[in-house]
């Protein structure tokens, strides 16, 4: 037993000591960035989304709802082992995730998932790993990630996406924000696509 205060009480006491006598009146946080004027109409927004995703050297294919299965199938390399999350709305060829180990997943060449949000300004897709998106490992280990995004899921910018994702239904769920294939700039700050995450990202935009 020790009479020394535990770390928690000591750190909190240090914080309070450090702040003693400080003016704690809140500083105004400017939030104008949350209501930026809309510069693009709906179709302009989707075009921007496609451009920005392609900017990261990810591939994008646009198709109609009725063509999703055919489009996805045409993207998947012939004979590739494909793993699918439970709850995927489209009946594409592949094996449903059965709680595979990481090593099992390493044996799959591709994964097909849905997404929750697309962000036009940054070319980002956000997965919240619910039905149709799968647990995190699923969209991570296989080398090709085909991600189906519906046009009505695409928002203008990061503040719009955060507002959506702040909803009660996503509370506590893990999220993965994906902007292009994995990449590194660690060698002379030259961007190289393809490190540990999927080396190919193919976004299917459905409208």
């Amino acid at each position: 037993m020790t009479t020394k205060p535990d770390a928690r009480s000591e750190i909190l006491a240090r914080v309070r000591g450090a702040l003693a006598g400080t003016d704690v009146a809140p500083v105004q946080v400017p939030r104008g960035y949350r209501s930026r004027p809309e510069r693009l109409d709906r179709s302009g927004l989707l075009t921007r989304f496609v451009e920005r995703v392609e900017d990261y050297r990810a591939q994008v294919t646009r198709c109609a709802e009725a063509d999703v299965i055919r489009t996805v199938a045409s993207i998947l390399p012939t004979g590739a082992r494909v793993v699918l999350p439970p709850g995927l709305l489209w009946d594409v060829p592949g094996v449903a995730d059965d709680g595979f180990t990481a090593t099992d997943l390493d044996g799959y060449a591709a994964v097909v998932t849905a997404a929750t949000v697309g962000i036009a300004e940054t070319g980002t897709i956000v997965l919240t790993h619910g039905p149709g998106e799968g647990r995190r490992a699923l969209s991570l280990v296989p080398d090709l990630h085909v991600c189906v995004v519906r046009a009505d899921q695409v928002v203008a910018d990061v503040p719009d996406a955060v507002r959506l994702l702040d909803a009660e239904s996503y509370r506590g769920r893990p999220q993965t924000w994906i902007s292009g294939p994995s990449a590194t700039s660690d060698i002379e700050l030259d961007r190289v696509e393809g490190v540990h995450g999927p080396r190919t990202l193919h976004v299917v935009l459905v409208s």
């Binding site: 535990d6 909190l12 914080v15 702040l19 902007s179 994995s182 590194t184």
Partner: protein, 492 residues
């Protein structure tokens, strides 16, 4: 014997450390004489400066975002105790175990204990400044636990038995040919060897890292990470990265320990909308980094089922007590201030003798450690020309020049044992700079404040180091090797 992530030198298991580095002017002088280092740095910082300017200029309300980022962090710091308690409650409710660590030693002990309790002898690591700050890899090695760095640049540093020299790109001082040589020389001893036909093409080098690390990701039972942000309200941690090594570490192992500085807290989830705009554009000069992962305690059936969070002080409350300096705790470690700093570009990161180099390191180290304790730290506030470029680049508007001047005063005071004339004058200069900012006249008044500072001689130490044409007696690396990373050398 357990294999370790550190390399063996002279029979004992060691790893390069910053301990015993010469003070900044001496280290800078040797670094300046290394032309390869200067060429690598000039190329790298030039590239990233251009990218950053391009993506920042796309955002019309960038200045408002900076103000918002600064305001959110300031508001949080002013009630830090309450936010930490909220965070603890939220994390605990979500199945995470929260630990508190007063200092580096305590934090390392906690991580080592988690490893021991789970009979783990190796961990995979997500790049994290804070685990370098606390010397976690070395501490784990002494406990027989190997720590594998998985970020490409960190891997280069670890395999090269080298030291990080940049916050974002720790191996920024290495060019592709050097990296190829390091991989060929050292990968085999750490696991899967480099491919026989490796070239210095960055894509081939990245692929070699992918192959080398994949076996480690697939078998690792425990990971250690930091966090870029910790949301108090929800207990959500956020890691921002590029390569996917972060996702691997945060997702595949059974056990995850995240060491989080207490200043990483933001109050609410929606506050992230500011930082997820500021950070990637300032850091890698991208509209968005490839991957951002968030997790909230334990998610059944998805990712680690044993989640620990270590809340670390290690000098942060000391910095918090410094009325002017506490704004340094807003720092989101983007490294923009390094990339625009004329001093950093010429000396590189090693000269700062800390995991936090560049302008932020020049203020953060003395704020965390206090003035008057060691000559290395005391020399850092002088490692600047006070040109103000760091403030302009900083996404959370940290007034680095004013803090530098204020810290110089504190160093002087600490050495005199009482407030000195110079010290008081420098506080005056700091106040001038500060007032200038408040009045919105920063651009006009900064040069005035600088001139005042120079007249007072506060810039003298750096100026003399820079202006001397000192063909150093030996190169930085030669010094490094001869002195075993400074261990066998005095402050010479």
């Amino acid at each position: 014997m357990v294999s370790t992530g550190s390399t063996t030198r002279g029979g004992s298991t060691t790893r390069a450390t910053f301990v015993g580095m010469p003070a900044f002017p001496a280290a800078a002088r040797t670094a300046l004489a290394d032309s390869q280092l200067r060429a690598n740095l000039a190329h790298a910082t030039g590239t990233i400066r251009a990218k950053r300017l391009h993506v920042v200029s796309e955002v019309d309300d960038w200045e408002e975002l900076r103000l918002a980022g600064a305001a959110i962090k300031d508001n949080t710091l002013r009630h830090l105790d309450e936010h930490l308690l909220t965070l603890e409650t939220a994390l605990t409710a979500r199945g995470a175990t929260v630990h508190w660590a007063r200092d580096a030693q305590e934090a390392c002990r906690i991580v080592a204990r988690v490893a021991k309790d789970n009979a783990v002898d190796e961990v995979v690591k997500v790049k994290s400044m804070v685990t370098q700050e606390i010397g976690l890899n070395e501490a784990l090695a002494t406990e027989g636990v190997a720590a594998w760095e998985t970020d490409l640049a960190e891997l280069i540093v670890q395999l090269g038995d080298d030291l990080p020299s940049h916050i974002l790109v720790p191996a920024i001082h290495r060019n592709r040919a050097e990296i190829k040589a390091i991989f060929e020389r050292s990968m085999a001893a750490a696991g899967r060897p480099a491919p026989d036909d490796l070239t210095d093409d960055p894509a081939r080098l990245a692929e070699a890292a992918r192959l080398h690390l994949r076996e480690k990701f697939l078998r690792a039972r425990m990971a250690v990470s930091g966090a870029n942000f910790a949301v108090a309200e929800t207990g959500t941690l956020v890691v921002v990265e590029s390569e996917g090594n972060g996702r691997m570490c945060l997702t595949l192992p059974e056990i995850l320990v995240s060491v989080v500085g207490i200043e990483k807290v933001v109050p609410t989830y929606d506050d992230l909308d500011v930082f997820l705009q500021l950070l990637p554009r300032s850091s890698t000069g991208e509209r968005m980094n490839p991957y951002t992962s968030t997790w909230t305690g334990v998610t059944p059936g998805d990712g680690p089922q044993q989640v620990h969070v270590v809340l670390l002080d290690n000098g942060r409350t000391r910095a918090l007590a410094d009325e002017l300096g506490r704004q340094a705790l807003r720092c989101i470690r983007c490294s923009a201030c390094l990339n625009v700093c004329p001093v950093y570009e010429r000396t590189g990161g090693h000269a700062y003798g800390s995991v936090y180099p560049g302008p932020i390191g020049a203020i953060l180290n003395p704020l965390l450690k206090g003035a008057g304790h060691d000559p290395q730290t005391d020399s850092l506030p002088y490692a600047s020309t006070l040109c103000g470029a760091c403030f302009e680049a900083c996404p959370v508007r940290i007034d680095i020049p004013s803090i530098l001047v204020d810290q110089r005063a504190k160093v002087v005071d600490a050495h005199r044992g009482r407030p000195s004339v110079t010290g008081v004058a420098m506080k005056g200069a700091a106040a001038t700079l500060r007032t200038g900012r408040r009045l919105g006249l920063a651009e006009k008044l900064t040069p005035l404040g600088l001139r005042a500072a120079r007249l007072l001689g506060v810039a003298h130490r750096w100026t003399s180091a820079r202006d001397l044409p000192p063909p150093a007696a030996e190169s930085f690396r030669a010094w490094w090797q001869r002195t075993d990373g400074g261990r066998d050398d005095d402050q010479a």
